[in-house]
Symmetry: C2
Subunit: 160 residues, 2 copies
Amino acid sequence: MTTTKSVSIEADKNVPLVRITRDFASTPAQLFRAHTERGLFAQWAGPDGMDNRIDYWDARTGGSWRYVARRDGQEFAFHGSFHEISPERLVQTFTYEGVPDGVALETLWFEDLGGGRTRLHAQSLVDSFEARDAFLGSGMEVGIEQGYAKLDELLASGDV
Amino acid sequence: MTTTKSVSIEADKNVPLVRITRDFASTPAQLFRAHTERGLFAQWAGPDGMDNRIDYWDARTGGSWRYVARRDGQEFAFHGSFHEISPERLVQTFTYEGVPDGVALETLWFEDLGGGRTRLHAQSLVDSFEARDAFLGSGMEVGIEQGYAKLDELLASGDV
């Protein structure tokens, strides 16, 4: 089985939105679990070498979440709300606490490509092009690429 | 004491955002309570003649809310998450269940004008200009204007 390992990160031309797509060797249900189950999410999110400690995680419509990523004595905390958790899509808010006034509205869905492959679609909406371009210029693609590579391994392990 | 009773509803030129401003004869703390306390919010939100039944309401960072507005046998339900509840601002998600795939990210803050007057600033962000213009064309200004007029009366009553 082969998967396209490259992640696509695309800035929308008209609205302050970033779109991410990435194919995985998994079913939609497995990708859903990897994004909503606390113990699974902690294993793959973020760049290499990060240790994620989940502070709280209530993956239901109306629930909320917070986690702290640690590496080399540095801590990076994130929190948000789960606006919608359904098999069709996940809608959640996202704040990096280093920029406490910033907030993104994220939507994720999982497109079944057949043959045990699924395309993850994620979009992240903010309220200005300045905020969107700061996000794109933050080096976030390293964390996204390395995180998804860890997710590939987790899916291959059979633990999801 | 006089207040400017007119509400300003403005579409941003560059991003799919609506900005609302309205002055009230109140302190910022009173406006904060009117927006976050379940029993107060139910008394003023929405157009005239609506009866609001709060289904759930947990006004803390990470909490969530849902209410059903009823008039003449018709029901309109809304729900969302409270991403941030702080004296500085409220950040919440908003879905009208008649359009279940639609979601807005709302931010509200209260500017102290002095002399017992406060300016409410609200912005509502969606992910396309089509969705924003559908919202603007939905007749929502009637509900906003009538709701704020009810809020004027509630504030004048001394119950907030």
